[in-house]
């Protein structure tokens, strides 16, 4: 999915959640998104909600990718998206979350529904990179509003 000549590259903000220290997921997602033709800013691990919000307001990315694998993703992801969606500038930005969101390795339909209701456009609960790619391949990037 390379960008067309002349069209600016879509910009992406990749971030971990406030309590999550894992970084291989973030490094991997950055490489992947760059290979797919996106310009990536990677905020790194343990990013407080306000830092993510501030960076998003400043950069106004086309897409915000939240990654969490430490098992606190349901809580941290929910709080974060509420902070992001509270900003009018980010009301229409595509925001997705993925990774290993719970501690028990099970799919938690209720939690996923809550994340969607709170403002995520997509939740990749089991870190499904193919489904993510399919989503990005469908222009425009803003899949759901």
């Amino acid at each position: 999915m390379n960008s067309m000549p002349g069209t600016p590259m879509p910009t992406v903000l990749v971030t971990g959640t406030s309590s999550d220290a894992h970084t291989w997921n973030l490094v991997y997602l950055q490489l992947l998104l760059e290979e797919w033709g996106h310009e990536v800013t990677n905020l790194g691990p343990c990013a407080p909600d306000d830092l993510v919000m501030g960076s998003a307001v400043e950069l106004r990315p086309d897409l915000i990718v939240v990654s969490s694998v430490n098992g606190h993703g349901h809580q941290d992801g929910l709080r974060l998206v509420q902070v992001l969606r509270a900003r009018p500038e980010l009301a229409g930005t595509t925001i997705v979350i993925g990774g290993k969101l719970g501690t028990d390795g099970l799919r938690n339909v209720g939690q996923v529904r809550r994340l969607l209701a709170a403002g995520y456009d997509r939740v990749f609960d089991d870190g499904d990179v193919h489904a993510f790619r399919d989503m990005l391949a469908r222009p425009p990037v803003r899949a759901v509003s």
Binding site: S19, A21, P45, G71, G102, L106
Partner: protein, 417 residues
């Protein structure tokens, strides 16, 4: 409470020729935590107990921990600063005693609140380090972590005496869990051990995590022992091995085989203690039963392996030579080990591949060679001229995932590293 000095317990087991095995176990529910400790103690193995703390406590977001407990949310570890001390005393009561030391494992660059809590509970064994709990675990400035860890060491050291010997383990053998060449792991472990000793600790352990080549791992543990012997003087120390800390096999058989390889490596390399991983590692937080299975499997595998003869390891290996160069390059920078570490990272004399932390130079690159050894693709400013063996090329997402998953793939298809 009768104290069981952690270092003394491990030394005793070693003298009897037994490997101590230990879980990485933590649950937010006190009842489950108590059950986990009791089952660890009762396991068919020589064990020490663990309280692994949750991520909110690690990043000092105690509001989030409190809220989670109030809402009945399951955390990824035990929130030692949030449960009332009486609750935690109830978790430990009758289990933690002279024959069963308990260590607190956390991952906090600013650990004073955790150290205060564990000391208040009569515990005095924990883990970490100014580098190893900062760069892989946070965005906290390294300079701040050094200050906080100085304080933490002094808080622990103050409790020496009256039969108490606080113990601190360096997590330096696990920088990011994977793809860090062993010389750096050994160097960081030794330097953190020295940092602890300079700040008053009389009993420390140095870690090393199983990597991608059994031969290189043997050299690394030998190098760690030799450098510790050369530099730690009269401080009580032992080596703790971590079962593989990177992307774990998905299959149950593969996961257990990898653990058993780690247990045999622990014995053949002369380590005194092993921290296990469970067959659930790739999937979820392990249950009590997962942990007991891992402890017993590791102890059984260890019993089949032969320890090296006593005495200092001969090993004049590549790992020893590189680690020694790194350690002395850092120690030559300043008398204070913490200040020396800060300068070393600023100049890139220590540099952790793929680490996103702003205080890491990020110029060094590693790769897994054909023979399975971790080697340098680019040594950046590391004082290891000539050690880089491949022209660095741009790593793609597929290259990275392949390197990260190499051990998983090998063990999932029935093989070994």
């Amino acid at each position: 409470m009768t104290q069981a000095p952690f270092g003394e317990f491990v030394a005793g087991a070693r003298a009897r020729g037994t490997l101590v095995v230990q879980p990485r176990m933590g649950f937010s529910d006190p009842g489950r935590m108590r059950q986990g400790l009791a089952r660890t103690r009762a396991a068919d193995a020589v064990t020490v107990g663990t309280l692994t703390l949750d991520s909110y406590t690690r990043v000092r977001d105690l509001d989030a921990a409190r809220r989670a407990l109030a809402e009945g949310v399951t955390l990824n570890g035990y929130p030692i600063c949030t449960h009332p001390p009486e609750t935690t005393r109830g978790v430990l009561d009758g289990i933690h005693d002279a024959s069963f030391p308990v260590q607190v494992r956390h991952g906090s660059p600013r650990p004073e609140h955790i150290v205060a809590a564990l000391l208040g509970l009569g515990l005095d064994a924990t883990e970490g380090g100014p580098v190893s709990y900062c760069l892989p675990y946070s965005r906290t400035p390294l300079a701040e972590a050094v200050v906080c860890w100085r304080t933490a060491c002094e808080m622990l050291a103050e409790h020496t005496g009256d039969g108490r010997v606080p113990h601190l383990e360096s997590f330096g053998g696990c920088m990011l869990g994977q793809l860090c060449p062993p010389a750096v792991l050994v160097a960081v472990s030794v330097l953190e051990g020295l940092f602890f000793a300079r700040h008053g600790l009389r009993s420390v352990s140095l870690s090393y995590a199983q990597q991608t080549s059994p031969q290189q791992d043997l050299e690394a543990v030998a190098a760690l022992q030799r450098l510790a012997g050369e530099l730690l003087g009269t401080v009580d120390w032992h080596v703790v091995l971590y079962a593989y800390m990177g992307v774990y096999p998905l299959s149950r058989g593969g996961g257990l085989n990898l653990l058993e390889a780690a247990a045999r490596l622990a014995v053949t390399s002369g380590a005194s203690r092993l921290i296990v991983k469970t067959a659930a590692e790739a999937h979820r937080i392990p249950t009590v039963a997962d942990n007991v299975e891992a402890l017993e499997a590791a102890a059984r595998a260890a019993a089949t392996a032969t320890a090296p003869p006593p005495g200092p390891p001969a090993a004049d290996s590549e790992v020893y030579a590189e680690a020694r160069t790194l350690v002395h390059a850092v120690l030559d920078l300043h008398d204070d080990v913490g200040t020396a570490l800060l300068t070393a990272f600023r100049r890139g004399l220590l540099d952790i591949p793929y680490c996103l932390h702003p205080d890491n130079a990020g110029r060094a690159r590693s790769f897994i060679d054909h023979d399975g050894r971790l080697r340098w693709g680019d040594t950046g400013a590391l004082p290891l001229g000539g050690a880089a063996v491949s022209a660095a090329r741009k790593v793609t997402s597929a290259d990275l995932l392949a390197a990260l998953s190499r051990v998983r793939r090998a063990y999932d298809s029935g093989g070994t590293a």
